[in-house]
Amino acid sequence: MKNPSRYLDALTKELSRLPGIGPKSASRLAFHVLSMDGTEVERLARTLIEVKSHIFRCGVCGGISEGDICPICGDEMRERDVICVVRDPKDVLTIEATGGFHGRYHVLHGLISPLDGIGPDDLNIGSLVGRCRDGGIREIILALNPTVEGDATSLYLARLLSPGGITVTRIAHGLPVGSDLEFSDSATIARSIECRIRL
């Protein structure tokens, strides 16, 4: 279906580039924007630009920050000797929401994946090495996805950082809390048996 206006067409195209938005949703959103109040549209446009112009990468961990350093890295109350390594800034939020981790983070902004042309040099690894070299780090927790790319990245970091005398750990593979053994897939059960712990 061709849009009646090239402006509407352009907006639909831009929106459909967003994740999870197909051509139909994009068209619906574009028509919605058209029906909105002028001030509402301006507010939306302003917010979009502000998100990009006011948020930076934290100079320490690479996570999102409104200043040079993010609130987590700047928080003197947090444990300074443990770093949790994650793939994306969004993962920081996920782990923060648990309230179970009190150290600081390091965001890689991707995983090693030759198939996507991403090597270690393309990731935020150099500054992690720098943080470890500066001292005071006891443990690095790798919280990356249990995929081929996640495992390769974990292994790479473990080999890179362990020789410096730092304990490198990886989050456990296993059953979701409160789940039923019967309804878990066999790969997960096999992994959780492999990674069992002594009681």
Partner: protein, 370 residues
Amino acid sequence: MYLKKLTLKNFRNYGDLSIEFSPEITFIVGNNGVGKSNIIEAISLTSTMRSFRNIPDIEMIQWGFESYYCSSEIEDSQDRLFEVGCSCQGGKLRKRIKIDGIEIRSISEFYGKFLTVVFAPFDINIINGMPELRRRFTDSVISKTNSHYLSDLSEFRKVLLSRNRFLKLLKEKKNLDMSELDVWDHMFASVSSRIIKARKKFFVELNDLFKNSYKGISDDLEAPDIHYASSIDSDEPDYIIRKLSEIRNKDSIIGSTGIGPQRDDFIIKNHRNINFVNYASQGQRRMAAICLKISECDFIESKTGTKAVIMVDDIFSELDSQRRKNMIKVLKRGNQIIFTMVHQNNADSSGFNASKTYHVSNGGILDELV
């Protein structure tokens, strides 16, 4: 387990078909080109998600239509209804697979639940053809009985692709961090080790089953042995890592990985260590291929306790009458059997309590012969 009913909509030459099978033996008879094998194809699709002839989904849609649908109703099994639907609209292919009405997202949730074994004329290529065909046979049989193996294989493919991509970049003289290659070697070794272990175990069991069925069906006094031919001598991860580092220079010149499960093969040899394909006649090779398939049925039964549905796609025309008789005798082992053939007088159904015969004529019309 046995297949009770197959339903097809717009699948190849069948617009709307529903066919019920005998729990023991069913014959589908008709001239060449009327669509006998399409029925086998549909059944194999609901069992393994793909055509046993390796035909792409888009070509299985009836001419002039945009989608096909097939479903198999199974008896004596935990899961009863297997459905596969595929639509192609505006060049976009969508496939939907369900077990008992629940949509399946990954192949490992599907594979190995509705167990079938297809005997087809081109099985002889497993004996005669490229190692790739033997690997495919090996992997499909192990996967039917072991879902870990299936997930190991998909992990292996990804790791191999990643390592090879890295080697290709290296070949192009890109400045790369070699410790990344150490990581891929490590991951390659650990998943390869699991695959090689599973294959080793499989070939020990397959060899016994193969020799048994070979003796039962052929007049040869001596049955040859199946030997697993791995490109790596040991399945220990440390050994594999060492080997990988030894061939690293060569690998980076070629831009791919020189050893590993992707290079494995199996060889059939007699006790004098002579390769079966070098001394066997065309007829003996055909028999050996049939014996491999019979061993597959036996292997599935010994691992899962389930008798797979056997489908025999037009292989009788290539056997002499004595071997035909032997084969029927060997196949009569309690599994449900579905035959396709040009003339029914090729096969003798005496000895089976319940049989059904269908005649297929041009235009996909099926009549039951009583």
